[in-house]
């Protein structure tokens, strides 16, 4: 009986009868595999500028395809010595394409990572990023928000001294997902990060992944000047001179 069923199945296949097989987007699959292989290389630590360039190109090739967004990642312009210093400072290098810092950049990110939920609007208003322009950007790799329990003004004083700038929401999302790929943890599942260069009206955007889950990026809004023990501020650093 079983043998007869098998013969019938094979005969149906051979004449092109419908057989339920999963439809696979071969190109997307290849891009995902390439990204996964480069993530493995990155996890070994101390990435070279060349590896960083290949890794970020693979990330945008694989993740951007879903949003029909493509970018050519330029060669990483940080030297190995500068990368070593950034790592010693507790930082990590990410690549943020210019397009993702423009007014419609958050919309592109939304399409690339729909699982994050709607993070482009709050209170019926669009979240805006104070600056445009991307590139190779140094960010803190701390899972918990740095500079906690201090005001936005206090953070600005430090950033002014060290030549840093406030982190934007697009950088936060890109860096947090990078952290998830490389360490298994998203940013701020115990804390919250004030993003002083991303606002909704007069209020700052406060971002966190409270469940350490990519399916829930929480954006809160609060007026400048507030400080809380569990709220910190994140920065962006351009390549040092």
């Amino acid at each position: 009986m079983r043998e007869a069923q098998t013969r019938l199945y094979l005969s149906q296949r051979s004449v092109g009868k419908p057989v339920s097989e999963p439809q696979v987007d071969t190109l997307q699959g290849e891009l995902d595999v390439r990204k996964r292989n480069l993530v493995k290389e990155m996890k070994k630590g101390s990435p070279t500028p060349e590896l960083l360039t290949r890794y970020w190109q693979a990330v945008y090739d694989a993740d951007g395809k879903k949003a029909e967004f493509s970018v050519v990642v330029p060669p990483c312009d940080w030297s190995e010595k500068q990368l070593e210093t950034l790592t010693a400072q507790g930082g990590r290098l990410v690549f943020v394409p210019d397009e993702l810092t423009m007014p419609d950049g958050l919309g592109i990110l939304q399409r690339m990572y729909p699982e994050l939920g709607n993070f482009t609007m709050r209170d019926g208003m669009l979240i805006t990023q104070e600056r445009s322009g991307g590139g190779w950007i140094g960010v803190e790799s701390d899972i918990d928000a740095p500079l906690r329990n201090s005001s936005d003004d206090a953070a600005r004083e430090i950033y002014g001294f060290l030549g840093l700038q406030g982190q934007r929401l697009s950088t936060y999302i890109i860096a947090s997902l990078d952290s998830w790929r490389l360490t298994g943890d998203l940013f701020d599942y115990r804390t919250e990060s004030r993003l002083i260069d991303s606002r909704c009206g007069e209020k700052y955007a406060y971002a966190s992944f409270p469940d350490n889950d990519r399916n829930f990026l929480r954006i809160n809004l609060a007026m400048p000047g507030d400080s809380y023990p569990y709220v910190g501020t994140r920065s962006e650093e351009s390549r040092p001179e």
Binding site: Q89, D142, S150, A154, I158, F161
Partner: protein, 245 residues
């Protein structure tokens, strides 16, 4: 009371976790500054700094002198992350270390001869040989940055801030050992002192061991990257407190 015991004392009003990871207190009003300066004056009294031959005044007089500086100190523009700091510029750091009761590991003799205030400071800062009060940032947010890179920034902002010196660093360790002591602080770090040089290519840092008992001054090259250490800086202005006989 040794450094470790003092590091374990916690007063929520003034002793929040210091350092970039734990958050900073902000001394935005005079009352908070008064409480903190009074606490520091009390520490120096207990350690007997008033009896040192270069001070030679009563404990009460020392406290009055220090507390009298608070209103002027509060008027000096400072960062929200700055901590008020009382420093005895007239007492050599080795003698201050001995007064703390900690085991002290001094800089080797050949390097000690090279110690001076940072000679490239654009305002020609010299450590005053007297008691002074100033504002200091402990360097927690500069961890992993080289002394060389911080000095470069200080050259651009020399009218505003100066690198903390060996005397500032010793003062910070005496009044805030918890910054250095990993037993009780999440934000522990060594403090690099860009305002002091040990020859042209080296700078000192102040370190305290895990138990708060072993105090040392280490010397390292200014281009060395140390993820556990950050450069401290002070506001340029200070209140000098001359001790009348």
């Amino acid at each position: 009371m040794n450094l470790r015991e003092r590091a374990s004392q916690r007063d929520p009003a003034t002793r929040q976790d210091l350092g970039s990871m734990g958050g900073y207190p902000e001394f935005s009003d005079q009352r908070r500054t008064e409480v903190e300066v009074e606490r520091q004056a009390g520490i120096y009294q207990k350690l007997g700094f008033h009896n040192h031959e270069k001070v030679g005044i009563s404990a009460d007089r020392l406290k009055d002198l220090i507390m009298g500086a608070v209103p002027k100190l509060q008027e000096i523009p400072h960062w929200r992350f700055d901590i008020p700091l009382v420093v005895f510029g007239q007492i050599p750091v080795a003698e201050q270390a001995e007064l703390t009761g900690a085991i002290y590991n001094d800089i080797p003799t050949e390097e000690r001869a090279l110690i001076s205030d940072w000679q490239q400071d654009l305002e020609g800062y010299k450590t005053p040989e007297s008691l002074y009060v100033t504002w200091i940032a402990d360097g927690g947010f500069c961890m992993g940055r080289t002394v060389e890179s911080i000095r470069k920034i200080l050259l651009e902002r020399s009218h505003e801030r100066r690198g903390a010196t060996l005397h500032d660093g010793m003062g910070l360790l005496i009044v805030h050992p918890e910054i250095f002591c990993p037993v009780l602080s999440r934000s522990v770090h060594g403090v690099d002192l860009p305002g002091t040089e040990v020859g042209p290519n080296q700078a000192p840092s102040v370190q305290l061991d895990a138990y708060g008992e072993d105090l040392s001054i280490e010397v390292h090259n200014i281009d060395v990257v140390n993820p556990n250490s950050g450069s401290a800086s002070c506001v340029r202005k200070m209140i000098i407190l001359p001790i009348a006989a």
